[in-house]
C-alpha cells in the first residue's frame, strides 16, 4: 500500500489553488510527466552524477564494512571464547544511544579544533587540522560505515557461528594450513551471510539522507536520498520526489534480485 501511495503521488496532478500534489489513485488517469522528467534527468541530466556519487559512496562504505566487519565477526564467532557475549554487547552498544545523539557527538569530535584533530596533530599524522565537516566525502563514507556496520557484523557473525568446526578440522587433517582452511572452507561457507549482511547494510545506506546532512550538508556530497528529501519535504514538486523514490526502488529491486540469485547459488554450492 505505501508503494502504491507513492506511485499515486508520482503519477498524480497538482491542485491549481494550493499548488500542492494530489494523489491519483485510479491508474487510468495516471500522468507520467514527472516520472519521465526524473528518468531523463537521472540518465542524462543533473541527477546522473548524484546517482553515480550515491553508488560510489555506498560501494566504498560497504567495502569498508567488509574490511572492518568481517575480521570482527570472524574473531567473535571463532576466537572470542567466553568473552563472546561481552564483545557482541560492545558491538551493539552504540544502538543503545539514539542515532542522532551519536552523530552529534561525532560532530563535536570532528570539529576543526575537536579531539580527533587534536590527536592527529599530536601524533604528527597531519600538519594542519583536517576539515572533516566541510563537505568532505571521506567523512560521509566513514559516517555511513559507522552508522550501519552493526547491521553488517551481526548477520555475518550468525553465519560464521553456524559453521561446523569439524569441517575446519577435516580441512586441516587433509593438509590445509589455517589460512588454507579459511580460504577453502570458512570463506565459501560464509558467503551467504556475507551477501545477506551486504544487502541489509547497503539498502538503508541508499535511502539515508540525514547522515549526509549532518556531517556534510554540502552540494559536493549530495546523495540521491538528499534529493528525495529536498523534493518531498520542501517546495511544491512532491511528484518529482515520489518519482525519485520509485526510480531508486527500481534500482534497489535490481540489486535485490541479484542478491537473491547469488544467495541461492551460494546456498546450493554450500549444500
Amino acid at each position: 500500500m505505501p508503494f502504491y501511495a507513492v506511485a499515486a503521488v508520482a503519477f498524480g496532478y497538482t491542485d491549481p489553488v494550493f499548488n500542492a500534489p494530489v494523489p491519483e489513485w485510479d491508474p487510468r488517469y495516471w500522468d507520467f510527466t514527472a516520472f519521465t522528467e526524473i528518468l531523463t534527468r537521472s540518465i542524462t541530466g543533473d541527477l546522473r552524477p548524484v546517482f553515480l556519487r550515491t553508488l560510489l559512496y555506498v560501494a566504498l562504505a560497504l567495502g569498508l564494512c567488509v574490511v572492518i566487519g568481517y575480521p570482527v565477526a570472524y574473531y567473535v564467532a571463532r576466537h572470542a571464547g567466553r568473552h563472546r557475549a561481552l564483545l557482541l554487547g560492545l558491538i551493539l552498544a552504540p544502538w543503545w544511544v539514539n542515532y542522532l545523539t551519536r552523530m552529534l557527538a561525532w560532530l563535536n569530535l570532528l570539529q576543526d579544533d575537536g579531539y580527533v584533530n587534536d590527536l592527529l596533530l599530536l601524533t604528527r599524522i597531519v600538519d594542519e587540522p583536517v576539515r572533516w565537516l566541510s563537505g568532505n566525502p571521506v567523512t560521509v563514507v566513514l559516517a555511513l560505515v559507522y552508522g550501519y556496520i552493526p547491521f553488517f557484523i551481526v548477520p555475518l557473525f550468525s553465519t560464521l557461528d553456524r559453521i561446523d568446526p569439524l569441517l575446519l578440522e577435516a580441512a586441516r587433517d587433509l593438509g590445509c594450513s589455517s589460512r588454507g582452511a579459511f580460504w577453502h572452507v570458512t570463506l565459501p561457507l560464509s558467503r551467504p551471510g556475507l551477501l545477506t549482511a551486504s544487502a541489509i547494510t547497503a539498502l538503508p545506506m541508499f535511502g539515508d539522507y540525514y547522515t549526509n546532512t549532518l556531517v556534510s550538508g554540502s552540494p559536493t556530497t549530495t546523495m540521491i536520498a538528499n534529493q528525495i528529501e529536498f523534493y518531498l519535504l520542501g517546495g511544491t514538486r512532491k511528484e518529482l520526489g515520489a518519482s525519485l523514490v520509485l526510480l531508486l526502488s527500481a534500482l534497489l529491486m535490481v540489486l535485490m534480485v541479484y542478491y537473491l540469485i547469488s544467495s541461492r547459488r551460494a546456498e546450493e554450492e554450500v549444500s
Binding site: Y29, P49, S218
Partner: protein
C-alpha cells in the same frame, strides 16, 4: 499463452490504458491573485465564511489550538494568555508552509490561530482556509508599521495582521571577519568550508541575483533564473559552500564564519554562544541600498477555528508592544511594530551595537526587495534550479 507472456501483455495493456485525463480535473492556472507592492490586492471574501459579529464574549474552557513554526512564539506569553482566559493553549508545529496548509486541509482538523507567510495568505483565502477578520477586536493593529496596517498582499487586512519582520543578510564572526563586508563575504575563499547559504530556493537564488546587481528576484524568466543558478554554482568549488538554517547555532559556535541568514538568527545567536564568549563576536551585514531582501510573517485565524473570538484576542494581544517585546526576547524575531526601534533594542540590551543592523525598520522595509508569490510554473523552475545547485551541478 504461458504465464510469463500473459503477465507481460497485461502489464503493457495496463500501461497503455494509463495517462487519460480525469473528467472534471482542474488543471488551469492558479486562481490566486499575485499581489505586489506596486499592485496590492484585496483578497476575496466568501458568503459562506462570514467574519464573527462585533462585541462577542471570548470563548472559555477547552483548548485554544495554535499552528506555528517550532519555537516561534513564547510559551510564557501563550501560557499567561491561556491562564487569563481560562483555556489551555496547545501548539502544533510545522516546518514548511506546504506542511501547514496540508494540516489545515486535513478533514476534521481545527486550528484557532495560524502563523502564515504573506505568500500563502492569498491561496489560503481563495481556498477558504481562513476566516475574515473583524477589526473591531484588533485595536492594536494601529501599533504595526503603517505599511503593514493594510499590506499589499492583503489589502485592508481582511485575513491577516503582521507578526514579525526580518531581513536576509550575512551573519558573520566579527572576530574573524574585519573587512570586505557585503554579499562578497560568501564568495571569499578566505572562508572556504565555513560559509553557508540559507537552505531555501527563493532566498538562495535571490542572493545570487542581488550579489550580481539584479533586483529581479521574482522573475518568471527561466533564463534569468538559470543564470542565478550558474552564479550560485560558482560557490561549490570556490567555497565548498553548505546550506542550512541553523545560523544562530553555527555562527555562535564558530562552525560557520559567514552565513547567509535571517536577521533574527543573529539576534538568537546571542543565546547560543559558548560559555565565556562575548556577544561582540557576532556581526550582521545588510545592504544600505535596495539590494536586500526583507520579509514579514503574519497572524491569521483559520476558517476551522472553534474559538474565533479568543483567536482574535490573541492576535490583538501579540500586537501589544509590551507583550510583543516579551515575545521577541524568546523568538529573536522582532515584531513589526513602530515601538521597536534599533536604538531602543540596544538600550534595552536586546542586541549588541554590532547587531543593531539586524533590527528592521519601516524605512528598511520600504526600500528593500521582497520575495513574492509567483506562478506555479515559475516556482517549478526556481525549485529545479536550486535542486541542480544542491546536486553539486
Amino acid at each position: 499463452m504461458d504465464r510469463r507472456r500473459f503477465l507481460l501483455v497485461s502489464a503493457l495493456a495496463a500501461t497503455a490504458a494509463c495517462g487519460g485525463e480525469r473528467p472534471g480535473r482542474s488543471t488551469g492556472s492558479s486562481a490566486v491573485p499575485l499581489t505586489r507592492t506596486d499592485s496590492p490586492g484585496a483578497l476575496p471574501l466568501h458568503d459562506d465564511i462570514p467574519p464573527i459579529a462585533d462585541g462577542l464574549s471570548p470563548e472559555s474552557g477547552g483548548v485554544l489550538k495554535i499552528l506555528n513554526y517550532p519555537e516561534y512564539v513564547s510559551p510564557d506569553v501563550l501560557k499567561a494568555f491561556g491562564k487569563k482566559h481560562g483555556v489551555e493553549v496547545e501548539v502544533t508545529t510545522f516546518n514548511t508552509m506546504e506542511d501547514a496548509i496540508s494540516k489545515l486541509r486535513t478533514p476534521g482538523a481545527s486550528f484557532d490561530v495560524w502563523f502564515p507567510t504573506p505568500d500563502v495568505i492569498g491561496k489560503a483565502a481563495v481556498g477558504k482556509l481562513l476566516l475574515p477578520l473583524n477589526k473591531t477586536y484588533l485595536g492594536n493593529l494601529a501599533n504595526a508599521w503603517p505599511q503593514l496596517q493594510s499590506p499589499f498582499y492583503d489589502e485592508g487586512s481582511r485575513y491577516s495582521v503582521p507578526y514579525c519582520a526580518y531581513t536576509s543578510g550575512v551573519g558573520y564572526r566579527a572576530d574573524e571577519v574585519t573587512a570586505g563586508f557585503g554579499y562578497g563575504l560568501l564568495w571569499d575563499p578566505a572562508y572556504k568550508g565555513k560559509a553557508y547559504l540559507i537552505d531555501d530556493h527563493r532566498e538562495g537564488l535571490a542572493l545570487a541575483m542581488l550579489k550580481n546587481g539584479s533586483r529581479e528576484i521574482n522573475t518568471e524568466d527561466p533564463v534569468k533564473i538559470k543564470q542565478a543558478g550558474t552564479w550560485l554554482s560558482e560557490l561549490v568549488p570556490l567555497m565548498n559552500i553548505k546550506t542550512g538554517i541553523a545560523a544562530y547555532q553555527l555562527v555562535a559556535e564558530g562552525q560557520a564564519t559567514v552565513h547567509h541568514c535571517w536577521s533574527g538568527d543573529m539576534i538568537n545567536a546571542q543565546s547560543y554562544l559558548p560559555k565565556g564568549v562575548d556577544a561582540d563576536v557576532l556581526g550582521y551585514w545588510y545592504p544600505s541600498d535596495d539590494l536586500g531582501v526583507v520579509g514579514t510573517d503574519s497572524l491569521a485565524v483559520p476558517a476551522s477555528a472553534t474559538k474565533p473570538v479568543l483567536a482574535h484576542m490573541l492576535l490583538n494581544h501579540l500586537l501589544d508592544p509590551v507583550v510583543a517585546q516579551e515575545n521577541f526576547s524568546f523568538t529573536g524575531y522582532q515584531p513589526a511594530l513602530s515601538a521597536i526601534t534599533p536604538e531602543k533594542m540596544v538600550t534595552d540590551e536586546f542586541v549588541t551595537e554590532g547587531l543593531k543592523s539586524a533590527i528592521v525598520t519601516p524605512d528598511v522595509y520600504a526600500r528593500s526587495q521582497q520575495i513574492f508569490q509567483i506562478s506555479p510554473a515559475a516556482e517549478a523552475v526556481w525549485l529545479d534550479t536550486w535542486s541542480q545547485f544542491k546536486a553539486g551541478q
